[in-house]
Symmetry: C2
């Protein structure tokens, strides 16, 4: 960002100011998500958020009009991360199941992150009806993409025939729940827990006759 | 309850008054759970609860000291229902998997109910540290019982070897998530959705070689 000290062109300085504003906006959103995740939406105040960011409350109002608008933007970030993970899987090569396994691992990382955690655990309830409807539209779009990936896996025979909506809900719920009890200082790493949960979902609770399981397919499910 | 008009014995009348008090207390708790589930804990007020029950706020204070105490009692009811379901499975006959399937179906019914929904979706965050610790103790006891049921299933070979804690979290998360999007007026019944979700969890997302699956075991997993 050498442009910041280059005063020959006002345009570069403007570009830098825009970059700086976006960075600060991001910092507000991330700290807000962390605050919501720690204390819940209703117990979090803009006073406290300003304090955590070492700024005044009017500074926050320069970027956002309300706590509710901040939550809305946090949810769009979380949903955006999920949509990116699904989009990447939709254009990747491999069987439907292989690509779905990628999504499951990506999903687990996202919901353990700041915006993903807010998306799952704070959710859309505190939003105004208008913003809730907008967030719901994005959520539905992501859900439909995910269900089409599952349908592709059923079509190519790599995923057992099932209702894609129920399968999507089953894996999402299972991975969301981990974030409720997982502690970074616990005995198992997040990757360990996620891996074991994904394997359980792929193989099922009832024991398999391993001998009858084709080697290639088995590899993809213990990934 | 003829005792209510029988004034010859004051003891019967007292017994009736106690019964009546317990019934009213139950009614307060159930309506409170419904209110929390609809509006969230922080957006629910005792004023509104009193209005929904057609009583005055002081009447509520006769039964409970605070909104937080009401939530605590609701959570104990929810956890109590879950514990009953696990206790019944622990003393039932059948393989570990068969008894675990019973628990999964019971669990789904409970978390779709008033107190179970509060237990899963409102949770212990709004409680005072003391009451939160007490609720956590009950929750841990139920979790340990559930994990011992899973361990019994692994021992008798009906459940695939896994970490019982992760398996318990996987099924609970999957079933909890259904309650987030299930609508009684939707296309599928709660039993249908639960049944499909339980079957997915038992059989896994990856297709099985059905021919190699023993008939007896298969029956228990499609229950």
């Amino acid at each position: 960002m050498e442009a910041v000290v280059d005063r020959r062109s006002p345009w570069k300085a403007l570009r830098y100011r825009k970059f700086e504003a976006a960075t600060k906006r991001d910092a507000v959103l991330r700290e807000a998500a962390r605050t919501f995740n720690e204390k819940g939406f209703h117990s979090s105040s803009l006073d406290e958020l300003a304090e955590r960011l070492h700024v005044t409350k009017p500074t926050l109002y320069y970027y956002f009009r309300s706590k509710e608008e901040i939550l809305y933007e946090c949810l769009l970030r979380g949903l955006g991360e999920l949509e990116e993970a699904v989009d990447a899987a939709l254009i990747a090569s491999g069987s439907g199941l292989e690509r779905f396994v990628e999504v499951m691992h990506g999903y687990a990382g996202i919901v353990l992150g700041d915006f993903g955690y807010t998306t799952v655990h704070i959710g859309q309830d505190p939003l105004s009806p208008q913003r809730r409807a907008q967030a719901r539209r994005v959520e539905r779009r992501v859900a439909h993409k995910l269900q089409s990936l599952i349908a592709a896996g059923i079509d190519d025979g790599s995923i057992a025939p099932c209702d894609p909506k129920i399968m999507a809900s089953t894996f999402a719920g299972a991975l969301n729940w981990i974030t409720r009890w997982y502690r970074p200082d616990g005995a198992m790493s997040a990757d360990d827990i996620t891996g074991q949960c994904v394997n359980l979902l792929l193989a099922g609770f009832a024991p398999r006759n391993e001998a009858s399981f084709p080697a290639g397919r088995r590899k993809s499910r213990v990934k």
